[in-house]
Amino acid sequence: MSSHRAARGPAGTWRLTLATLALVAAGALMVGNQGTLAFWRDAVTVTGGQFTSGRLDLTVDNAQGAVATPYVKTNLALPTMLPGESVAEVLTLRNPGDAPYTWTAAVARGGDLGPALTVELYLGSATTGDDASYPRTEACATTTSPIVTTGATPTATRLATGTDGATGQAVCVRVSLPAATGNEYQSKTTGSVTLTFTATQVTP
């Protein structure tokens, strides 16, 4: 037995030392090594451009024409009409905004003479005729693009347009008392016409 101990004297001690170091190293490794490592970091921030919303703002003759305070087209009037007489005026629809749009037109006739009136809308910026001497028969110069015509019941027709830029889109409105107007429409005093234009943005 002692021989074994003597034999393991110096050499065994060295081996023990090595083993101990190995165990310590292994333990150190086992405790974990990442948290103890240092690394480089960096961040880059990208700033985009500004975002704003577009605008759709329909105007008539550059007036807003709010429902509560409609735009009054003063010259679109004809007092003491006789059958066959008519008046025509040009309205300019414009969108100072930038959204492409379509628009519709709706016509409402009111008062005691309203049911007898015929209202027609055409694209175009010119009128013809005379609204002073009898028979007063103003008309729209171009009638190839009817938008709205009214008979017994007013109707609205949708018309697709793009952006209209600064010039706008001219619409000729003609209001007439047809030659065949019934006898019951003599001496009426409260005829009225209201036009409502509704613009809708064109979806992408």
């Binding site: 006789l82 003479l113 209201t194 613009a199």
Partner: protein, 298 residues
């Protein structure tokens, strides 16, 4: 870095190990797209704006209508009992907003029976302010009115004028004729040929308002001893019943009247002068009683 990234992508590690992880997001995107498609354009929010325009100068009275005013109440006139009734009126006016004078398109004249019925169109004009009712029968008391026309449908009626028949019937003598002077034989033959045997005179009476049922006659001649005598239908007599002042006897017929008797008896005297008065009355009470004279020669 680029190379590494390419290597990692091209190396297929993500592709090889993550097909499920890639398919799941792709399926989700497809589902979202499908929902959007199903919802359609309404799913898009859009800008809208309205602009309202009213006709001016005020929103409630931009338009008004004119008026076709009535023509003046017509007047009527008739030259004789059978002439047309001439209807005359003053022009209708038109209230217009335009400058210049507006004239009606024309006039229609109606003859009605009362104050409210539409009546019958009797004549029309465009600009003339008179026209004739030429109907064969125009009842006394008819109501005339003038309807002014403008454009297609506008009309306005005048007040009504009641027609008063003031003209007596028109009496025509077929035989003997007024002023005739013939030999007795010729005279009698002419009467017999025109009136038929059994009558000594004949003719007609007419009136647009109508003739009453009775036409009367008075045929007289001077008596040899002075005074007059009257034809009774069978003989000459000077009695008060047949020849008194204002006495008329009943003829045969009304609008086609005949005086009864035998011409050979009535006109037997040579060189005599006769006076025949036919009394015809229309329904308005107008009396025609104009005498004619004729004579026979020796």
């Amino acid at each position: 870095m680029t190379r590494t990234a390419l290597t990692r992508t091209a190396g297929g590690r993500h592709r090889g190990t993550g097909p499920r992880r890639r398919l799941a997001p792709a399926g989700l995107v497809a589902a979202v797209v499908a929902i959007c498609v199903a919802l359609g354009p309404a799913a898009w929010a859009v800008f809208t704006d309205t602009a309202t325009v009213t006709a001016g100068p005020t929103s409630t009275s931009a338009f008004s209508s004119g008026t076709l005013n009535a023509a003046g109440t017509p007047t009527t006139a008739q030259a004789s009992g059978t002439a047309a009734v001439v209807v005359t009126w003053t022009a209708a006016t038109v209230t217009s907003g335009g400058t210049g004078t507006v004239a009606p398109a024309g006039y229609d004249v109606y003859r009605a029976t009362g104050a409210a019925d539409a009546g019958t169109l009797v004549c029309s004009t465009t600009t003339a302010l008179t026209c004739n009712d030429t109907a064969a029968s125009i009842p006394n008391g008819s109501r005339y009115y003038v309807r002014a026309r403008l454009a297609t449908s506008w009309v306005r009626d005048s007040a009504r004028q009641t027609y008063a028949d003031t003209q007596p019937p028109v009496v025509t003598h077929t035989q003997p004729t007024s002023g005739a002077s013939l030999l007795v034989g010729v005279f009698i033959t002419a009467v017999n040929n025109s009136c038929g045997t059994g009558f000594v005179a004949c003719g007609t009476a007419a009136d647009t308002g109508g003739i009453t049922a009775t036409t009367q006659y008075r045929l007289q001649r001077p008596r040899t001893l002075g005074g007059i005598e009257c034809w009774t239908g069978t003989a000459w007599s000077n009695t008060a019943a047949s020849c008194g002042t204002g006495v008329f006897l009943t003829a045969t017929g009304t609008t086609a009247w005949k005086v009864p008797g035998t011409a050979n008896t009535a006109y037997a005297s040579l060189g005599a002068t006769y006076t025949l008065t036919i009394r015809s009355v229309d329904v308005a009470g107008n009396v025609a009683a104009t005498p004619i004279t004729f004579s026979t020669l020796l």
